[in-house]
């Protein structure tokens, strides 16, 4: 589903961010992407959700080389990947309902076709009573759940979450993890980037570990 072949990423100032990255995410898999801050986790995720291009190597998304995708094909690929951004990236001038429904609106789906689904999803993430609230009036945890709702509303094949528990307390963090596990059970491929050891320790899911831009083996964990 997602495959990295000898991928490297170098910024304009000649800083190597990623070096020789090789891995594959199979359909329905659940992975953690770990590493300390600055290890290159966000940069790697950006290559998956097409917010950046690799300097070397190949990134295959749904069996298509991302470098060879015509611009017109990018929206379709992006719609298959739900992203929970580290800083949420909710639009402050839209209500939570409007933010969550955005991925459906950009597909020109009529509101009558999705309204009940959104309300159900909002209840599922525990925001049923905050649909008309604006993001700035929500707590970090609520914003995080709204961001997750927005990422899953279009029923993407893959969900990528960048430090999804970074702004919430442990209890909410565990609730969010149960939410991701539930989505994974429904067949969604999940990749969660985190530097929080508590999140992945003791979890049954495999881990991709980044150190200074390179993937390092995580022997004997599983």
């Amino acid at each position: 589903m997602i495959r990295f072949e000898n991928v490297s990423l170098r910024y304009d100032n000649n800083t190597d961010v990623l070096q020789d990255i090789n891995f594959e995410l199979k359909p329905g898999s659940f992975h953690f992407l770990t590493g300390s801050s600055g290890a290159g986790k966000t940069s790697l995720l950006k290559l998956i959700f097409l917010a950046g291009k690799p300097s070397g190597g190949k990134v295959f998304l749904f069996n298509q080389d991302s470098a060879r995708l015509p611009r017109a094909a990018l929206p379709e690929i992006r719609r298959r990947i739900g992203v929970v951004f580290q800083e949420f990236r909710l639009l402050d001038h839209l209500t939570i309902y409007e933010n969550v429904s955005l991925p459906l609106r950009v597909c020109n789906i009529k509101e009558t076709q999705y309204r009940s689904n959104i309300l159900e999803l909002m209840n599922w993430v525990g925001l049923g009573d905050r649909i008309n609230a604006f993001p700035t009036t929500l707590s970090g945890g609520e914003q995080q759940r709204a961001a997750i709702a927005r990422a899953v509303v279009g029923r993407p094949n893959v969900i990528i979450a960048d430090e999804p528990t970074g702004n919430v307390d442990t209890e909410i963090g565990m609730r969010l993890m149960r939410l991701f596990a539930e989505l994974n059970k429904q067949g969604t491929t999940i990749l969660i980037a985190t530097h929080d050891k508590q999140l992945w320790e003791g979890s049954p899911y495999p881990r991709l570990h980044l150190e200074q831009g390179s993937l390092v083996p995580t022997y004997g964990e599983y």
Binding site: F49, L50, A51, G52, K53, R71, A72, L74, P75, E76, R78, R79, V83, R89, L91, H93, L94, T95, Y97, E98, S101, L102, P103, R105, V106, C107, N108, K110, E111, T112, R115, R150, G154
Partner: protein, 282 residues
């Protein structure tokens, strides 16, 4: 609830300042076009009147007085094709026409006043101007046919100059408006950079994003152009109350082309500019 709400923040793309500029530009363009239309119509009326009539002036020659030549001229006029009627202008009227220059009562009896004939032409028949001129010179050497050609030429030249001037104003206003819209769109894209990025990342097509910009601009353009049009139309309406036979619905319909074309131009500029800018993004 969400279906029709604006995705871009209100006034983040097209603010009141842009609205004021667009309204002013539309107003100026309407004035320029209206001026051309009015002058065209007035000139057309004057030219129609002028081409529908000619004047014959008969002066004394060495051997013949003007009165001696009048009968011969009348005979020629009666058999000339294209002439509807003619009228000999009474001498008192001619003296009246001279009085503004010479002063009342200063027209002396020995002042040679020509005989003037006002000739109306039949528009449905072809009038041979040169033929009449030759015939007149044969029977009345003191007769001179005046078709008001020079006056007509001057009027046509004046109208043409005004047309060029108004076209230049229209071109300048169009360029200025287009520039303002491009700058405003660029600023709008800058202000909404984060929103545009999020929209891209959740799978929005460039056309969808462009539509959000078009929507804000067009709503504003519609209002601004309506204000500009109504203001210009009101001024023309006031002017036309002073001039008879000038106001008609066709004038206002033609003037309406300014706001319609302005809105169309705004839409095309924004669509092109936004799509081209977004194409450079990831």
């Amino acid at each position: 609830m969400a279906g029709n709400s604006q995705i871009l923040p209100r006034n983040s793309v097209a603010g009141p300042a842009l609205g004021a500029v667009t309204a002013t530009m539309c107003f100026l363009a309407c004035l320029a076009l209206g001026a051309v239309l009015s002058v065209n119509k007035a000139a057309h009326n004057w030219l129609t009147q002028a081409t529908g009539a000619v004047t014959i002036q008969i002066t004394d020659t060495e051997n013949l007085t003007a009165r001696d030549q009048l009968q011969a001229v009348e005979r020629v006029l009666k058999r000339t094709r294209g002439i509807k009627t003619y009228e000999i202008i009474p001498e008192e009227k001619l003296i009246g026409l001279l009085e503004p220059w010479l002063g009342t009562g200063n027209v002396t009896a020995d002042l040679p006043i020509p005989v003037m004939l006002d000739v109306s032409l039949n528009k449905e028949q072809r009038f041979n101007e040169n033929g009449l001129r030759i015939e007149l010179s044969a029977v009345a050497p003191g007769a001179k046919l005046d078709t008001h050609g020079r006056w007509r030429q001057n009027l046509e030249r004046g109208v043409q100059t005004l047309r060029v001037l108004a076209s230049l104003i229209l071109i300048l206003v169009t360029i200025a408006t287009a520039t303002v819209i491009i700058f405003a769109t660029r600023a709008g894209l800058g202000t909404n950079k984060q929103t545009v990025e999020v929209l891209h990342l959740i799978g929005a097509r460039d056309k969808f994003i462009s539509r959000q910009f078009e929507r804000q601009f067009l709503t504003l353009s519609l209002l601004s152009c309506a204000i500009g049009y109504v203001a210009a139309a009101s001024i023309f309406h006031l002017l036309f109350t002073l001039m008879t036979d000038m106001e008609d619905m066709q004038f206002y319909l033609l003037l309406l082309s300014v706001p319609v074309l302005s809105i169309l131009m705004t839409w095309l500029i924004i669509r092109n500019f936004v799509i081209r800018t977004l194409a450079k993004a990831l």
